[in-house]
């Protein structure tokens, strides 16, 4: 089962490697990882996506929580939440038809073209992971994907629930 863990930790050297250690040491897989400082610069917030059954998920929560630098851990998908991921994708378009098709799909998916050259479009798209994957599939069909980069999921609980000190 897909799990989304949100972690609030000290923005200190080595914190991230300890989190990764919990996963690698126990053979759990990280599907995506998104990390950046919060509005309070002394803290970092991570969103980790993994696949785990209930028992493993409980262990991940407890083992991550046990790390000295970690302040809070929560499983986002346990309650209503919003999640988003950002992808940058560069496609090569050799024909006018392909360029039109890419442009049309950008509109349909509400993506945005960031950069244009004679042969390439660089596109930004935000949404759920599924939407990004669907868009990448469409691009693969109508143009050649030169490269792409995804941020990994980040998410927040809805309403009152919040991960804070």
């Amino acid at each position: 089962m897909r799990r989304i863990f949100s972690v609030l930790m000290e923005n200190a050297p080595g914190s991230l490697s300890r989190i990764c250690g919990v996963f690698s040491q126990r053979g759990y897989n990280v599907d995506s990882l998104c990390v950046a400082p919060t509005s309070d610069q002394s803290l970092s917030r991570l969103t980790i996506i993994t696949n785990a059954n209930d028992k493993v998920a409980e262990q991940i929560t407890k083992q991550v929580n046990k790390l000295i630098d970690v302040l809070r851990v929560t499983e986002l998908a346990e309650a209503p939440h919003v999640e988003r991921e950002l992808m940058l994708i560069k496609v090569a378009t050799r024909t006018e038809i392909a360029r039109a098709e890419v442009k049309r799909n950008v509109d349909i998916f509400r993506a945005r073209i960031l950069d244009v050259t004679a042969q390439h479009y660089t596109i930004e798209i935000t949404g759920t992971s599924d939407k990004l994957t669907a868009f990448a599939d469409v691009m693969d069909h109508c143009a050649d994907i030169a490269e792409s980069a995804r941020t990994g999921v980040c998410g927040l609980s809805r309403g009152d629930r919040a991960l804070r000190l």
Binding site: M9, E10, P13, G14, S17, R18, G21, Q25, E58, Q59, K62, Q63, N65, K66, I68, D69, V70, L71, L165
Partner: protein, 572 residues
């Protein structure tokens, strides 16, 4: 405000924390710190012969006192040599601080001479680690290291110190923090009231309760409270290998150690219990045997300071996060209404069942006329030390014999590597014990395999006049490996026999100690008398024991807790 160098700050911080002993080995990256050590006499430095020994000594010191052990080593090989010792402490939750030198900050990452990423290398086996980047941060980093090491679930903490920040030529203001608080680290000591109520109700209703006591009870100094609780409930008590001594081994309610080599009555009590109160124990695989068949009738109350230990292996019906001492007090405060006489009457059928299991006398063995049985040696050590010695053990058959045949009346008396199972632990650990308790009798129970893994520390023993008694059960083989090969590999002794052995008597003498070899049963008692009469000298007893002896009882793989072999021919 006093001005001092980074190196002086390290030593001053140790002094301010109250460190008495520092186990270490000098080298390039820590020469400044060593220079600062030279000029003072608050912290006694012990010069070891191998850094692994330093870590085990600090570990033994910590286990015997409850205080944090301290290690100082240089960068690179000095640091990596401590890793086995750090892992040993980590697995058994022992408070330890390891100060490791590091190459100068500007050379980190350049593959400099004796550079190793110590914080990275040690990460999976430490509670936490610090790479100190400024001299001004030294006091706080060290204060935090000790605070983290010895609060909550204790464990080792590494403090990596690049050479440039401990430079003796640059001085900085020294301020030692009065108090350490960390917003991200606040261990829970007190059990949740609702959980305590549930636990009390379950214990009061239980007809077949068992107290399953682990090392956490020793870390929390909770022996007296555990005893009070056990007596109040009139419940049988079993201890894990790490918990031995937390409840007296000579108390009538003690049913012995449980687990793989546990007593029949201990494992039977667990398997048939209707309520298990686990106090600072973690349901290790060496206890549970097949988890699917583990204690099918019991309500499990799991008290542990580490939430991550609870329901990790066995699902707890009543989880209680807290320190064993605090939780015992909370439980006791709600048991005033228990009438001890009524409780005894209520549990009488349970005790008569337990006494039936006890009557099987699962520790009995046959001592012939000549070849010494290893069990006999442990019994002799018990008699000659009045059961009062600190026993440090290595790992293997002798460890199990010591755990089974030397009843420990007090906590911290039994020092062994339970979790990691580190051969070579015994001698340096016993040295740490002797430094902590100079007047006490510090004994090592070891084997011919284990003792050779850190035998170089015999030299350190001479330098510091440590009158340790080494009892080596010499079976010319790796006994526990052989036992498993006998049982599971049709007796194929693949590389478990040591075909050449040093003359241990001469070896002890070469290191400046006394060596005694015992080959026959009739000589054992006199040799022991001679050994323990030597109050001021180290004695190495090389005792030839039966090579074919197995440790029993022993759980049968994939079975329930109480599926056991009782001897080579009998099983439950």
């Amino acid at each position: 405000m006093r001005m001092m160098s980074g190196a002086a700050m390290v030593v001053e911080s140790l002094k301010d924390i109250g460190v008495t002993h520092l186990f270490g080995y000098p080298g390039g990256a820590v020469l400044d710190i060593y220079d600062a050590l030279f000029a003072q006499d608050h912290v006694k430095h012990v010069l070891v012969r191998h850094e692994q020994g330093a870590a085990h000594m600090a570990d033994g010191y910590a286990r015997a006192t409850g205080k944090t052990g301290t290690v100082l080593v240089t960068s690179g090989p000095g640091a990596t040599n401590t890793l086995t010792g750090i892992a040993t402490a980590y697995m058994d939750s022992i408070p330890m601080v390891i100060l490791s030198g590091q190459v100068p900050s500007m050379h980190i990452g350049e593959d400099a001479f004796q550079e190793t990423d110590m914080v990275g290398c040690s990460r999976p086996v430490v509670k936490h680690s610090f790479l100190v980047k400024k001299a001004a941060d030294i006091p706080m980093a060290i204060a935090k290291a000790y605070y983290i090491a010895n609060t909550g679930r204790p464990g080792p903490v590494v403090v990596d110190l690049p050479k440039d920040i401990v430079n003796v030529l640059e001085e900085h203001p020294y301020v030692f923090p009065d108090d350490v608080t960390m917003r991200s680290y606040n261990p829970t000591l007190k059990g949740h009231n609702k959980q305590i109520s549930k636990a009390v109700a379950s214990l009061k209703n239980a007809k077949r309760p068992v107290l399953y006591v682990g090392g956490g009870a020793i870390h929390a100094n909770a022996s007296e409270l555990v005893t009070e609780l056990a007596e109040k409930l009139n419940a049988p008590v079993t201890c894990t290998l790490m918990g031995l001594g937390a409840f007296s081994g000579v108390h009538e309610q003690f049913v012995g150690m449980l687990g793989m080599h546990g007593l029949l009555e201990a494992n039977k009590s667990m398997h048939n219990a209707d309520c298990i109160l686990a106090l600072g124990a973690r349901f290790d695989d060496r206890v549970t045997n097949n988890v699917d068949k583990f204690c099918p009738h019991a309500d499990i109350i799991h008290v542990d300071i580490d939430p991550a230990s609870i329901s990790k292996i066995v699902n707890a019906h009543i989880p209680v996060v807290g320190s064993v001492d605090t939780v015992c007090k909370q439980l006791l405060s709600r048991m005033d209404d228990i009438n001890i006489e009524e409780q005894k009457e209520r549990l009488a059928p349970w005790w008569s069942q337990i006494n039936e299991w006890r009557a099987r006398k699962c520790l009995s063995y046959v001592q012939g006329e000549e070849i010494i049985k290893p069990q006999k040696v442990i019994e002799a050590v018990y008699q000659h030390t009045n059961g009062e010695a600190f026993i440090s053990s290595d790992v293997g058959q002798h460890q199990m014999f010591a755990a089974l045949y030397y009843p420990f009346a007090k906590p911290r008396q039994w020092i062994n590597s339970g979790g990691l199972g580190t051969m070579g632990f015994g001698l340096p650990a016993a040295m740490g014990v002797q430094f902590a308790h100079p007047e006490a009798c510090s004994v090592v129970i070891t084997g011919d395999g284990s003792i050779q893994m850190n035998i170089q520390e015999l030299s350190t023993c001479l330098q510091y006049n440590l009158p340790i008694k080494i009892i080596s059960l010499n079976n010319r083989a790796l006994g526990m490996v052989r036992q498993w090969q006998d049982m599971n590999y049709k007796g194929r002794h693949s590389f478990s026999n040591m075909d050449s052995m040093p003359d241990f008597v001469k070896l002890a003498e070469a290191y400046g100690h006394i060596g005694i070899r015992v080959e026959k049963l009739e000589d054992l008692d006199d040799a022991m008398t001679r050994c323990f009469a030597e109050k001021n000298k180290l004695v190495f007893m090389d005792i030839l024991v039966d090579q074919n002896e197995h440790v029993y009882p022993m759980q049968i793989k994939y079975g329930a807790m109480d599926d056991m072999r009782l001897s080579k021919t009998e099983r439950t």
